[in-house]
Amino acid sequence: MTARILTPEELALLTLVQDELVPAHGDLSAAGTLGAALTVDAYLAERPLLRRPVLTALRAVEAAAGETPFAELDSEGRVGILRQVENDDPEAFSELVKQTYNAYYTRPDVQASLGIDGPPQPLGFELPAFDESRLARVRAMGKLWRDA
């Protein structure tokens, strides 16, 4: 699948950025490696208003990396760059983080790792019934409202 909005270079950069934002956990790979960059590209295609902040943040990452491309930095170096961009342009950066979380936490495998075995419907959840005896103390408080 090819990206609709991001260039191949932007897609590759976003993948690396996302791997730092949401690193691997247990059996799950990091967000970028899982393919969250393509999902974010789809969001950008569907919702044009997201393009500016996300692309601004990506470009800022590239610029902050300077001489050494982001891809050639180790994880510590990449995190340092990301913190710098977050400081300089918190609004654009937080949109990038938000869209990464969106792409990551809507994946069934990620949800399964949190014990979620499907969307809310059609099964819903069974919860214990209400037990009226718990209200004994409050019932004994007597009238608490003012008549008028």
Binding site: E20, L21, V22, P23, H25, R47, V79, L82, S94, V97, K98, T100, Y101, N102, Y104, Y105, T106, R107, P108, V110, Q111, L114, G115, I116, G118, P119, P120, Q121, P122, L123, G124, F125, E126, L127, P128, A129, F130, D131, E132, R134, L135, R137, V138, R139, M141, G142, K143, L144, W145, R146, D147, A148
Partner: protein, 538 residues
């Protein structure tokens, strides 16, 4: 037929909580009722609950802020003058299409704040005048809950029993019992057992705020509308009203609206009923200027649009060591704490608040800040932080009484328009001093509750930006035409065949969610109009 010379006897603008109730009530009396609604029917397939990306709907198709959601049926709102953004849904069923269904009643003292506490104005009727309509409304929509709360007057048996009581409730209860505070299971506009037609009882799936796909939530499109349509009400969707028309004598004659093809049409009626909500109704009245009403219909007093009230809301979340699974079960109220509801001047403010003890959200929304706008950090701490909050958090809304102030208002924006070129509303609002003092005090009480309950972390959003759920007061009721737009029957002081029945009617806001009161008021006004139609239309 009461007034055959008109297209309809009664024209209702807006099909939401109030418009639906009034359409049902008026058509029951044989009146020919038409409702113009700018929105459409939300279809079962529109809901996201069966998809793994359901939580995204909060940011997109079911976002509560129309400026974010951007449906073709929405209109823009200039929010630059308010720290609280007005929220609404523009569809058949109005803002009850995706809401939380928390359904408390106001207390008797809420209708008498001038007499009891020397502030604002009394309503032109009492709780006891409204009580039969609260009961009627509950029996129409279906409420889950339990009668017998010592914090409120006795009430009729609820239609279905209270909802489940799970680990999150136990956590709250630890705190409440330690502090000895009042609490009660909430009345909710949702059914916990079979009730009504084509509706399933709640299966505790969780995200009611993006709608209910099984009809458990008592939203107006599943409660009143099927019955109103069966009684012959004509509901025209995709009909955006531009203005209410008047004759030379200043009597309302109907409305001009754009149909689904964008064609401008007129609909005439003996009586016009405004049910377009606390922002939509003043917007339309202000846009309906004429020689008789140069400042907008029924607005020679200048009160239309003024006295806007929200319920300024703070969110306080408690993170617990144990699993509380706050994402399971209806997101809205489980329990109410009304320990601080009535005035106690020793607290440093007049009037009071309730703690609406609610649940929480799924992992995506938690990552993005949960209900509170505190995003989970990215990077190496991310997974641990997410796992400590997700399924471990309960959130309380601090809901307090907002006093009416004339400077807080809806006006017409001089530049912004909707897709039909109709001026958009501009909202100006600031929380008054009493409100600010009460916010501070109430947040401290919510903290105290979570501390007593054993929360390991407490997160606070002291004034939630996206909390303008409750739009009240902008065409307020009263006996004094200088300080109010309508009388106690919803009839405009300046135009006797114009009625307002939605959230804008509120004289004061109380400290509870408004919709059970909005619908009870709408039923009371419609009942009066139905009995007095000939005089009103004459």
């Amino acid at each position: 037929m009461a007034t055959p010379e008109f297209d309809s006897d009664v024209l209702i603008v807006g099909s939401g909580a109030s418009g639906a109730a009034a359409a049902w009530s008026l058509s029951r009396r044989g009146l020919r009722v038409t409702c113009l609604e700018q929105g459409r029917w939300v279809k079962p397939s529109d809901y996201a609950h069966s998809r793994p990306d359901f939580e995204l709907a909060r940011q997109t198709s079911f976002a509560k802020d129309p400026n974010v959601r951007g449906w073709a049926e929405d209109y823009p709102i200039n929010n630059s003058g308010t720290p609280i953004y007005p929220l609404m849904v523009n569809a058949v069923g109005g803002s009850t299409v995706h809401w939380s269904g928390h359904f408390p009643r106001m207390r008797p003292s809420d209708f008498r704040v001038r007499t009891l506490d020397g502030v604002a104005d009394d309503w032109p009727f009492t709780y006891w005048d409204l009580e039969p309509y609260y009961d009627l409304n509950d029996s129409m929509v279906g409420v889950s809950g339990l009668a017998g709360d010592p914090g409120n007057p006795p009430r009729s048996p609820r239609q279905t029993p209270p909802l489940a009581f799970d680990a999150g409730c136990e956590a709250y209860l630890r705190g409440l019992e330690k502090l000895g505070w009042h609490w009660w299971p909430c009345d909710n506009a949702l059914i916990s057992e079979p009730f009504g037609e084509n509706r399933s009882p709640c299966n505790c799936c969780g995200p009611c705020d993006i709608g209910c796909p099984i009809g458990a939530m008592s939203s107006a499109h599943v409660t009143y509308w099927p019955k109103a349509l069966a009684q012959g009400v004509q509901l025209i969707t995709h009909a955006r009203v531009e203005q209410i028309t008047v004759d030379r004598a200043g009597r309302a004659t109907g409305a001009l609206y754009y149909d689904d093809q964008g064609v401008r049409r007129s609909h005439t009626a003996g009586v016009v009923v405004m049910a377009a909500n606390g922002v939509g109704t003043p917007r339309l009245l202000l846009n309906s200027t004429s020689a008789r009403f140069p400042n907008g219909l029924a607005n020679n007093s200048g009160v239309v649009g003024a006295y806007l009230m929200f319920h300024p809301v703070a969110f306080v979340s408690g993170v617990f060591e144990e699993v509380v699974n706050g994402q399971r079960g209806p997101i809205g109220g489980l329990m109410n704490c009304q320990e601080f509801y009535e005035t106690d001047l020793a607290r440093g403010f007049v009037r009071g608040f309730e703690l609406q003890l609610s649940r929480s959200v799924g992992p995506l929304s938690v990552a993005n800040g949960g209900i509170l706008g505190h995003p989970v950090p990215w990077g190496s701490e991310h997974h641990e932080a997410l796992r400590s909050r997700y399924a471990h958090t309960m959130t309380t809304s601090v809901m307090l009484e907002d006093l009416p102030e004339p400077e807080n208002r809806v006006t017409l924006d001089p530049g912004l328009t909707d897709a039909h070129g109709i001026p958009a509303p501009r909202v100006e609002y600031r929380a008054g001093e009493n409100t600010q003092r009460m916010l501070e005090f109430s947040i401290a009480r919510a903290r105290e509750l979570f501390e007593a309950a054993g929360a390991v972390e407490i997160l606070v959003d002291p004034l939630v930006q996206e909390s303008g759920w409750h739009l009240m007061g902008t065409c307020r009721m009263g006996d004094d035409p200088e300080r109010s737009v309508i009388n106690g029957w919803g009839q405009a002081h300046e135009c006797s065949n114009l009625f307002v029945i939605d959230g804008s009617t509120f004289t004061t806001s109380a400290a509870v969610n408004p919709t059970s009161t909005i619908q009870a008021v709408a039923l009371r006004c419609a009942d009066w109009l139905g009995r007095n139609y000939r005089e009103a239309a004459a």
